[in-house]
């Protein structure tokens, strides 16, 4: 039997899914053990138990000075920036995606411009953003928006253009105006693709968020990581990294599930 036709059973498939996770954990544990036996004060690869202990402490113990649990404050601050940034981007991208995809006049005006603007490396603009918008929340949100908006607009306008011409013509023969075609034909078909595009842009969004927080912030997940880096607090950094990964994964999963639930008709196309 050819390798391409060999499918793992349920049990084997589950084991295979877990395998790389377990392998990485074991590799880390071994590496950490080797370093710690050589030098018990080593900070680079803290033992898994130490990381767990630190995580427990970070999640529950309030800060001595402010009395708040910094971990949750950081999480909330970062999530707020991320959600506002992604939300604004999604809204603008949907609007411009529809305009560029449906209206030739808009397409002539903006498609080339967006294609050029999307080539600007957003991080190169970060100093300008800090200068213009200050060091507060605004500059971080704007960085996320600038970072993912061009991609979203290009993707969504392309998706609108992919709607078969026949379907648009059909709507026209039913007497639909441009507005009705946008609202009742293009927009509903765009929404599942919007969710798909947001899922893809969540990675870059986190990247820009952490970059902005690393440079100037007073709380946030990225800020904390870059703060404790000075003390080589690998256990804290690892806890935060695992937490960010978990958050991103849960968001992705939630978007996927929401898309399936809300758009049952798109099952076949996604």
């Amino acid at each position: 039997m050819r390798l391409i036709n060999r499918r793992p059973g349920v049990v084997l498939a589950t084991l295979l899914t877990l395998l790389p996770f377990v392998a990485v954990l074991i590799a880390y544990a071994i590496g950490s053990d080797i370093r710690l036996t050589a030098n018990p004060a080593d900070k680079l690869l803290p033992a898994p138990a130490t990381v767990l202990e630190t995580a427990g402490r970070l999640l529950t113990e309030p800060d001595r000075r402010s009395g708040d649990v910094l971990f949750w404050l950081d999480t909330w601050a970062s999530l707020k920036r991320l959600l506002i940034g992604v939300g604004i981007s999604a809204f603008i991208a949907t609007l411009f995606g529809l305009l560029i995809g449906l209206l030739p006049v808009f397409r002539s005006t903006l498609a080339g411009f967006v294609a050029v603007v999307s080539m600007i490396p957003p991080l190169a603009l970060l100093p300008i953003l800090f200068i213009v918008f200050g060091l507060g929340e605004l500059s971080k949100v704007v960085l996320i928006v600038i970072g993912i908006l061009p991609f979203l607009i290009r993707d969504l306008s392309g998706r609108v253009l992919e709607i078969p011409r026949e379907m648009i013509v059909k709507a026209e023969t039913l007497g639909a105006s441009t507005l009705v075609i946008a609202l009742r034909v293009a927009l509903p078909q765009l929404l599942p693709r919007l969710i798909q595009a947001i899922r893809l842009s969540l990675g870059p969004a986190w990247l820009f968020l952490i970059a902005a927080e690393a440079i100037a912030a007073d709380q946030g997940l990225g800020y904390r990581i870059f703060l404790v880096r000075r003390y080589l607090a690998m256990d804290v950094i690892l806890t935060y990294v695992i937490w960010i990964t978990a958050l991103a994964f849960v968001m992705d999963w939630m978007l996927k599930t929401a898309s399936r639930k809300a758009f049952p008709w798109s099952e076949g196309t996604l």
């Binding site: 078969p164 026949e166 379907m167 013509v169 026209e172 507005l179 009705v180 509903p188 798109s266």
Partner: protein, 255 residues
Amino acid sequence: MSFVTVENIFQSYGPRPILERVNTTIDEGEFISIVGASGCGKSTFLRLLLAQERPTRGEIRIDGKPPAVEPGLDRGVVFQRYSVFPHLTVRENVVAGESFRRGFGRFFGADLRAARSRADDVLARIGLDHVADQYPATLSGGMQQRLAIGQALAAKPRVLLLDEPFGALDPGTRLQMHDFLTELRAENSMTVFMVTHDLEEGFKLGDRVLVFDKPRWDPTDPNLFGATITYDFDARDGGIPFQNIMEEPHVLKSA
């Protein structure tokens, strides 16, 4: 008085002529089958009738009105594919036939209930009432095309344009669709144009069969000349002329 007049239509894409000198008149209620080889401009002609494209020269008038510049309510269409909206349920698709012309494309309140019950009548008529709440993707090809026809008819167009509507269906389903279309025609006698590859289908359903072909052919440059209507058959009574007293045969008349 002829209902649709096609006057000296030329259509070219860039330097390449597709149609040239197309002239015909069609009476209200006629079923016109359009046949011809691939690439001879049948679908182009249908797009011109639909006003999805405008001819390079000449004009098409429906009921004496000025030539349309874009597709509108007076022309219904069913394509081979993508004729129903995948994000609407079967019932919503039929309701859309009536509601898309309104401001936001929706009915509200009592209007919506009335439109839904009318849609249910249509669905019962086209035999799709048992799948009213499903999405089109779950239907078979024949059911989707029936839905597309029902949706187009819900908008009550004056002319119905069918672009190879049964091209993607299996032979059995195709025969069912023929019966279905014949019944619908008996109920509301509208003018129908149907592009088809299937000669038998064209003659079976049509009152007239228009054949598109290139009257001139340059062997060194096959794209030099466009196509036009080369035959205009009377397909009534099985295509056999003079079966009735006082019959007017459709013979290609000089323009």
